[in-house]
């Protein structure tokens, strides 16, 4: 049993193009650990491999090489899946369901009894400020409302670990603030949160530690308090840009030397 809640070791994932089967390495030898009650933000440019990493952690993809474990189990193991919550990027839902029906469906997938399902659904709809929209069909919901419902379904089983892919995406400033507050509340409840984001101010406010992914490799990892203390970097943005630029320079130097 590992002490870390999330642990990857030399995690590698290759994708192949459809026709020519050309290999593209999306995640390259990623080794990281996330401890209990930690809020970890994975940062990176578009195409850096953040979403692929998250999909490997929740078992939607299988590693090409390396290992990945969540709560001491192989990623995707049902014992781990029963204790995690997952919000995909731009979540897609069943347009023919209402918000209440959708949450009930998500709860039933965890095997929760009817009474508990109803109680949790109502509490979560209230938590994400959607109590009045319980009976609204999802096809009539705005992107922000769907994002809130996505967060609610990720919390339906009262998970120990949360994986959120761009949780602030599509939200207006009030929605972003609400999600920030929810994530802080989750941290206060002792939960571990692993998320991807582009929004550095939000990351700065929520995270304990950040990792910067560049072209599938972990280019840097630092605690937010160390960055904020103003030692080597002014702020998170400077840390992020410096780390990415440095990783890109090293990569290009390596390409030239080859």
């Amino acid at each position: 049993m590992t002490s870390s809640v999330i642990e990857t070791n030399q995690l590698t994932k290759d994708h192949f193009s459809h026709i020519l089967r050309k290999r593209f390495r999306a995640v390259d030898g990623l080794t990281l650990k996330v401890e209990t009650n930690e809020t970890y933000g994975l940062l990176g440019l578009n195409g850096a491999g953040k979403t692929t990493t998250l999909k490997l952690l929740v078992g939607l993809l299988r590693p090409t090489a390396g290992t990945v474990s969540v709560l001491g189990h192989r990623a995707g193991d049902r014992r781990a899946l029963g204790r995690i919550g997952f919000l995909p990027e731009n979540p897609y839902f069943y347009s023919y369901l209402t918000g209440g029906e959708f949450l009930d469906f998500a709860a039933e997938l965890f095997g929760l009894p009817v009474k508990e399902r109803r109680e949790r659904s109502r509490a979560l709809l209230k938590m994400v400020s959607m109590a009045d929209s319980e009976n609204v069909p999802l096809r009539k919901c705005s992107k922000g409302m769907l994002q809130r419902l996505g967060i609610a379904q990720a919390l339906i089983n009262d998970p120990d670990v949360l994986f959120l892919d761009e949780p602030m995406s599509g939200l207006d400033p009030i929605g972003r603030r609400d999600v920030r507050l929810i994530m802080m509340e989750l941290k206060a409840q002792g939960k571990t949160v692993f998320f991807n984001s582009h929004l550095l101010p939000d990351v700065n406010e929520i995270c304990d530690r950040v990792g910067v992914l560049h072209r599938g490799r972990l280019a840097g990892e630092e605690s937010v308090s160390a960055i904020s203390s103003g030692g080597s970097y002014q702020d998170l943005e400077e840390y992020f840009l410096t780390t990415v630029n440095q990783a890109e320079s090293e990569r290009q130097a390596l390409v030239v030397s080859k």
Partner: protein, 263 residues
């Protein structure tokens, strides 16, 4: 297996049922089936004393045809649509097995077809009773509708299987082919025997054993409409035969889904 283990499967089945019954296209098909059944009255009126017979035959053929069309078009997109719309992300990251997912999808559609078949069968019985109040409800006709439903259960199992790896269009082509060939299974064997080449003969023999013999179901249905009750042993055999195919197809669908990644 505890009852709790059934919850996820029931959730998937209920969701699939909801999805299908909330699709307006389904109602268009059912209305079309009602119109086709009523057309039997017109056809029957130009026959010589066979009006009820024609109405019943056309009504049953309509149930089989419309049920099959609904089953194929919904069934072939059953799993594919979840992947295409990425709703699968929310399902496979929950603690349920892939067999629970595949079986749940299948049961959801099977329940929907049960309701549709019962509605179309009920409508046919109602029309027959209206035209001839003395004509008591024919229990053999209820059996005939049940046999149609048995065939539909097989068709949607084939559609579910193909939907796990093929596009909806290809799945429709494959499922229609299996359904069609299933009705001409004996011809496959006869075709093999016509060939002088041993390899060709063996190939058609293999196809005959591989494909389901759906013509038997149609034949028994015909017998029922002529008032001939088939032996119980034969009915039990047919049910077991179709069930074996369904279990095999859903098992293969589970294995394929189990091996899949969802990028």
């Amino acid at each position: 297996m505890s009852m709790k283990a059934l919850y996820p499967m029931v959730a998937i089945a209920r969701n699939t049922f909801r999805e299908t019954v909330r699709d307006r296209v389904l109602y268009a098909f059912v209305v079309f089936a009602f119109i086709l059944t009523l057309a039997g009255i017109l056809l029957g009126s130009i026959s010589v004393g066979q009006d009820l017979r024609i109405l019943e035959d056309l009504g049953l053929a309509t149930i089989a045809f419309i049920g099959g069309i609904i089953g194929i078009f919904v069934g072939t997109s059953l799993v594919h649509k979840e992947v295409e719309r990425r709703t699968i992300y929310l399902i496979v990251t929950k603690p349920l097995s892939r067999w629970q997912f595949v079986t749940g999808k299948y049961i959801g559609l099977a329940l929907c077809l049960l309701v549709v078949s019962a509605a179309m069968g009920g409508f046919l019985l109602g029309v027959v009773a209206l035209l001839n109040p003395d004509h008591a409800v024919n229990p053999l006709m209820v059996e005939a509708v049940a046999l149609i439903y048995l065939e539909l259960l097989f068709v949607i199992a084939v559609a579910t299987f193909f939907s796990t790896f093929a596009t909806p269009l290809m799945s429709v082509v494959f499922t229609l082919s299996v359904w069609f060939i299933g009705h001409f299974a004996l011809s496959l064997r006869a075709l093999g025997r016509l060939s002088s080449d041993a390899a060709t003969s063996r190939f058609f023999d293999f196809l005959y054993w591989l494909m389901p013999d759906l013509a038997s179901i149609t034949k028994i249905r015909g017998d029922l409409m002529y008032g001939r009750q088939p032996e119980m042993e034969l009915l039990v055999f047919l049910c077991s035969y179709v069930c074996a195919y369904i279990v095999l197809l859903l098992s293969m669908a589970t294995v394929i889904t189990e091996r899949r990644e969802f990028p």
